[in-house]
Symmetry: C2
Subunit: 427 residues, 2 copies
Amino acid sequence: MTSLSPYDTMTPVARAAYRAQAAAADIAPLPRAVKDDVLLAVADALEVRTAEIVEANAKDVARAREAGTGESVIDRLTLTPERMRAIAADVRDVVALPDPVGEVVRGSTLPNGIDLRQVRVPLGVVGIIYEARPNVTVDAAALCLKSGNAVLLRGSSSARDSNAALVRVVRDAVGGAGLPADAVQLVPGEGREPVRELMRARGMVDVLIPRGGASLIRTVVEGSTVPVIETGTGNCHVYVDARTDLSMAVDILVNSKASRPSVCNSAETLLVHQDVADAFLPLALDALADAGVTVHGDERVLAHAEKSRATVVPATAEDWETEYLSYDIAAAVVDSLDSAVSHIRLWSSGHTEAIVTTSQAAARRFTQLVDSTTVAVNASTRFTDGGQFGFGAEIGISTQKLHARGPMGLPELTSTKYIVTGDGHTR
Amino acid sequence: MTSLSPYDTMTPVARAAYRAQAAAADIAPLPRAVKDDVLLAVADALEVRTAEIVEANAKDVARAREAGTGESVIDRLTLTPERMRAIAADVRDVVALPDPVGEVVRGSTLPNGIDLRQVRVPLGVVGIIYEARPNVTVDAAALCLKSGNAVLLRGSSSARDSNAALVRVVRDAVGGAGLPADAVQLVPGEGREPVRELMRARGMVDVLIPRGGASLIRTVVEGSTVPVIETGTGNCHVYVDARTDLSMAVDILVNSKASRPSVCNSAETLLVHQDVADAFLPLALDALADAGVTVHGDERVLAHAEKSRATVVPATAEDWETEYLSYDIAAAVVDSLDSAVSHIRLWSSGHTEAIVTTSQAAARRFTQLVDSTTVAVNASTRFTDGGQFGFGAEIGISTQKLHARGPMGLPELTSTKYIVTGDGHTR
């Protein structure tokens, strides 16, 4: 009889985290060229083995259809050879991004002659809990590998066959390149217990990033001892200032609301300065009507309803805090820019707020006072996006203030360490 | 009968957080000059009202003596006119530090012509839970004010009269300068319940920073939904490499261990490469003996005990993970640099590890592989300190990887926001 090692007595989730830690230690010091070569191998493998992945995906899609899942969700779940080419192209885009690891963030020689450098290092083990879309599996793996991290992936059960196939292909490519395949793992096990265990794996997992609906994110935030980066809820506002370009304001409003209502950077509330309400609202309500948007208006907005083509229903307090993610928008007339700011401070999820104004003073005050990840001046809320910001693929949009805020790219997947170099220095 | 506002129905802790949020919104946009003037007024008031503060402190000290508290704790609790001058001087040092708020961290013009800027902004409401030393009260308030944050302070009950007096003086000075006094508040209420409430005040408190013993920190980390920055536990290592300057290694070892054993950046474990053990250990054991240090050695260290003046007791597994904070050190001989790294990865709290070596290759490998907030090459572990690093006073030393790692100065008390400026841009 031999005695059990700690590994033997661990749960499957703890073992996965343990192996991820070991893999993370191996890949952390790798130079960029090695990591880029692996990512190119991953991209190639995703294309070469497309048939295998699409076949696995077909099982998920069939299960979803049987369960009566809506077509828009099924569409997001579905992988085709064309989509696989796009996913592989995304991985190659990550190859083109600079490697954040090793960057000297600060550096100086201290008065006593010590050289102090603060350098970027990988976080270590990143846990990602996400819903539906299987392309997230590959995006997350590619971003974590590039930034020298190991990743533990927990997708939704509705995509389990797709995710298993994708991760198998990625791991084969990583292992084939001589790197530890355990740098990319699915969290093992069914149901909620493995997720709960992951959430309590402080010391083994360095950060958890939940991506998905509000209830998933709330569960992870409230139950984790592992540090969490909260992502995604977007109750975004468009504020039309007293001094504004009416046609620009209509364009930005419609684009912010209706270009893709299901995403977190779409607008959910319109606020209009009272001085411009009579001029703006008739144009805005008709434009929203033409875009198929239902307006949930306060009394002063409702007063304009009859003269427009729009469907305007009375707003309740609930409307101000709702992230519709649909062709609906709440709308109110406010007395001043400061009233708009107060409304936003009270109700916004702190994602993105836009002002449309011709006044430099108003733009300055709005950007100073609004406390959200992104403040847009004369631009659509839809620009809050890692790709739009030039960060490449994004691992999520942080709506908290700690560590990362707004779209998260590669640098947000790193920490730092200080290197203190002396020649026998003591205190 | 009038209806109750939400404020009226809040608990005292929630009210404090609510008022802190309002104060935070007021002070966030203040320019540096206004904040510096307030801090100078605070420093002056601390000196002018020293008698009042020392008198309150005397009550805490008397209570501590009655409770049979040890002299070293009583010493740290005690405020004297001289210490008050030092505390006021610390506040003036914060005045001299650059204001992190408004710094443009990144900026570029996107291909579509949008101007993108990422600027530093205050975190908002910072909660600090700390033990014993009342000077932390003033340090924390000064650093938070300078960085545009409101602060909720929760000191230990043993310093409650001192903290109440200090905060009264600070608030009077802040209010006297026309700023909201609620930017600096003590968390109201007695016992643990107010702390528990603070820990669950996500959305009202932006970050919690626990400073103190391991059990306090664990409680906050495990029970909080508010994002936490873990601080301070330091199981720091000194590794003496095969190629080394023996006399430098002895100096660094003794300084790291014995210059101030009670602090988190003091060394707790010595690791010696086997090739240098016979030459180094006799010198090291005698030097540690002369500094009054007891050595908890592995077998190969014990083998050198007889020939030295040192007290060497056998080490158990527990010694490798112990933060003694006393004149004790664990010591082991390791087969290689990589063995030292493995030992450190297994047992270290990730605070600070030092290598003493003449080999450039060893220094490079050690700094690459060791995953701690600070890696020191030929320098004492004691340099991991905000003051030593030139950051001014520090709000703590983060031992986690998220948001901040190592000594935290003013920039670590900020977040960022993106400003997107277009001229009607839509997607």
